[in-house]
Amino acid sequence: MSAAQKISYFGLIRNGIFGENPVFRVALSLCPAVAVTNTLKSGLLMGVAVFFVQVMANISISIVRKLIHARIRLPAYILIIGTWVTVANLLLAAYEWPIYKEIGLYVELIVAFAIILSRAELFASKNEVVPSLFDGLGMGLGFMFALGAISFVRELLGNGALMGYHVVNTHPVLLFALPMGGFFAVGLLMGFFNWIDIRFFGGHGASGAGH
């Protein structure tokens, strides 16, 4: 039994990173993908914050899922998520103040991320604690992967640097360094992943249901 379960846990994580990647495939929680990905460091930090909130929210909602009446479940879930966002917000403000000054508003707004609430509603409210934990891990890692990829491309092409260190000595592409370069980076990467999906895996490409 343990082998079958291990595979399904692994499947949950893989599902979060590739199958239902929060940014590139499901296309929820797009704002930070555009707004805080101008450097790799801020992108990864935002990814860590979302990872933390997603995992903790999934665990706690899965624990209390039988105590919450179905009619008030959404407000209750949002309050649970809000609690963990407050924790993440205060922790970041305490330990990473220089970056927090730039991404603070977006960290506070994690509470309004559709991806976290939708995982709570679709998965954690119907499953035991351990699968919910792995679902949260997968979704959080998928989000981190997406933000890491976008900010990697933007910092490398826009500034020729990574994590603040100068790497390549070419003419920077201003289009990616500008604040709205995130839109172009997300659009191009999304198209690129769709192309891989269509070309090599015979998929349809994510048409992007949006909300």
Partner: protein, 193 residues
């Protein structure tokens, strides 16, 4: 009076939530496929924004600041908005089913929207007074409506365009938004508050 007008212009054009602060993109991408839904969403949105700005201002200035509970602002704002939207949903269903049929679906989407939450957070941070908060909420709502209408009219034309297959749908919409955002840079520096 002039100050308030400036605040509206600043909130709707110079600091447009979608194009210069990159918020509310899920809903922005989701409802702009058709002009009709975009219009319905922008009306609902503007109304909810003004009312939530008012309620949250009262809660922040009369309850949270006197008792030094500012660190709980995320929780309190979210709870107020969720409760208010839920009750608006229930009241509308009873009082005016026609309006509910048209706008009810947008109300459900609004609870998990970052702009709705960003407005009270910005107001709390900038220490606006009550009237300024209302005007800021209105300006932000109008700015979002403008963004939705621009995008919806472009995407309706885009239906007829020959877009490469991997870029159909969201990717091309993102690149379009980036181009509009470049145009909105032109408004920066128009008003310095």
């Amino acid at each position: 009076m002039l100050k308030l007008f400036e605040l509206i212009v600043a909130a709707s054009l110079v600091n447009n939530f979608v194009f210069t602060r990159y918020l509310g993109l899920c809903i922005f991408m989701g409802v702009t496929k058709k002009m009709e839904t975009a219009l319905g969403m922008s009306m609902t949105f503007t109304a909810v924004m003004v009312i939530s700005a008012a309620i949250n201002w009262v809660a922040y200035n009369f309850v949270m600041e006197p008792y030094h509970l500012e660190f709980l602002k995320i929780l309190v704002f979210v709870a107020i908005i969720a409760g208010f939207v839920q009750s608006a949903d229930t009241i509308m269903r009873k009082v005016s089913p026609g309006l509910y049929y048209k706008l009810g679906i947008y109300l459900a989407l609004i609870i998990t929207n970052c702009i709705i939450l960003a407005v009270p957070l910005t107001i709390a941070e900038s220490h606006y007074n009550f009237i300024q908060s209302l005007v800021f909420g209105l300006g932000s709502g109008l700015g979002f409506a403008l963004a939705l209408i621009i995008m919806a009219s472009i995407r309706e034309k885009l239906e007829l365009a020959d877009v490469p297959r991997p870029f159909q749908g969201l990717p091309i919409a993102f690149i379009l938004t980036g181009l509009i955002a470049l145009a909105f840079v032109g408004f920066s520096g128009l008003i310095t508050l």
